[in-house]
């Protein structure tokens, strides 16, 4: 009994030692920013890309659908419907931003739909400036981020939608195409494929989005995004040459931790 009381008394001393008595005062104030600070060029480029598509939709909202636009819109509708049936998908993208920043990177985006819920993953390999590898993984219950193979974040998903630092995914790309059907144009057509294009000028940047859609199953098979600005010598290209659908993929495979970077 005495020992118990002694321990309690000592525990109070321990807690007292751990309790700050000289904590500095915080002078920061938190006001909602008009625009969110972007810390990396990747994020900057992605945001502009997404914003370009959104503005296109608003700008062209008053236009009537021309026959070719109506046909293009039908293709997008078919692709969206087809996407809902897809059980798994993998697409590899290459991004190049030559010039001062000289960013170059490869991205692999993978999704798997199961009875328990959706899994999605983005593996980003930045090759220039500072070689760096980042992997984002969303399972039905959790979200994880690895940096150079080291697990940096592991949290509950808490009903969040997947957010790969705003990087454009297939869902996002298709969603943006769907929002901007009025601006779609057909640039090329074969017996099996049809290529649609969206172009828009935002601020001082010109963006062009192109997608190749299958006439067989309606799905988008490849796409590219090109951005350029004359005033600050900026160019950006994102190229995805092939998208694989309904590939054999297991939960273990999509949730596998990336390999740690060798020293």
């Amino acid at each position: 009994m005495k020992e118990e009381r002694d321990n309690e008394r000592l525990d109070e001393q321990v807690v007292n030692l751990l309790t700050p008595k000289h904590a500095p005062r915080c002078n920061a104030s938190f006001k909602v920013p008009e625009t969110t600070k972007r810390v990396s060029l990747w994020r900057y480029v992605r945001t502009i890309g997404v914003a370009a598509v959104v503005v296109m939709g608003v700008f062209l909202g008053i236009r009537m659908l021309a026959p070719s636009e109506a046909r293009a819109a039908q293709i997008i509708d078919r692709a969206m419907a087809g996407m809902k049936e897809v059980r798994s998908c993998r697409m590899q993208m290459i991004c190049r931003i030559p010039g001062k920043s000289d960013v170059a990177g490869n991205l692999i985006y993978t999704i798997l739909r199961t009875e328990k819920g959706d899994f999605s993953r983005m593996d980003m390999q930045e090759e220039s400036v500072r070689p760096h590898q980042t992997t984002f993984l969303y399972t039905p219950d959790s979200m994880k981020v690895w940096s150079d193979g080291e697990l940096e974040i592991a949290t509950l998903r808490m009903n969040q939608k997947p957010d790969f630092n705003n990087w454009i995914t297939l869902d996002v790309l298709m969603g943006k195409f769907e929002e901007n059907k009025r601006n779609l144009s057909i640039v090329h057509e074969t017996d099996t494929e049809i290529t649609l294009r969206n172009s828009k000028h935002v601020y001082k940047y010109d963006y062009t989005y192109e997608g190749v859609f299958s006439k067989i199953d309606g799905l988008v098979k490849s796409f590219s995004v090109h951005g350029a600005s004359d005033s600050d010598d900026f160019t950006m290209t994102i190229q995805c040459d092939h998208i694989d659908y309904n590939i054999p993929l297991t939960v273990d495979e999509i949730t596998k931790a990336p390999q740690a970077k060798s020293e």
Binding site: N7, L10, D11, Q13, V14, V15, L17, L18, T19, P20, K21, H22, A23, P24, C26, N27, A28, S29, F30, K31, V32, P33, T36, K37, S147, E150, E152, I153, A154, T155, L156, M158, N159, Q160, K161, D163, N166
Partner: protein
């Protein structure tokens, strides 16, 4: 977003105290709070789906501090676990933030990271054990046990080295 800003103001002292004693640098702690705030603002309407924004805020802060510490791991002094010899009686009476941070940091370095994190969130962040269980995604009994074992280990170490009596 206004809700987030209000919450940040409301929790400012707890968040800042946690960050200060985690990072040991007042300016860096303030920067981290701003970064967390901006990062959450950037999530926009996605925050609407978050069940408990307060706990989510703390979770984001703990992750952000953890990432920052890992990045500067090679630069900062690292202490060998169970090295009580570096603590002296005079260290237990800190006179300013720097001395106090050093004491708390050295004490918590004696513990496994899971235990020290629970102690930090409870004592510095002012979180309840229920909140901490949610923030760390761990069962409530585990969180309580981590706290108890952590305090117990520090008590035994401090007593054996005659730093408390």
């Amino acid at each position: 977003m206004e809700q987030l800003a209000c919450l940040m103001e409301e929790e400012r002292d707890n968040l800042y105290r946690y960050a200060c004693y985690r990072l040991g640098d007042e300016a860096e702690a303030e920067d981290v709070l701003q970064e967390v705030f901006l990062a959450l603002c950037g999530k926009g309407h996605l925050l609407d789906n978050v069940e408990n924004l307060r706990n989510y805020l703390y979770r984001t802060l703990t992750n952000q501090c953890g990432m920052l510490l890992r990045k500067r791991q090679k630069e900062v002094e690292t202490m060998v676990v169970d090295d009580w010899s570096r603590l002296q009686v005079k260290d237990t009476e800190p006179q300013n933030f720097e001395q106090e941070f050093r004491l708390i940091d050295r004490l918590l370095a004696m513990l496994p990271a899971e235990q020290s994190e629970v102690i930090r969130l409870h004592i510095h962040g002012g979180r309840t054990f229920v909140d901490i269980a949610s923030i760390l995604d761990a069962p409530l009994p585990t969180v309580k046990a981590r706290y108890r074992y952590g305090i117990e280990k520090l008590r035994n170490g401090l007593r054996m080295n005659k730093l408390i009596q």
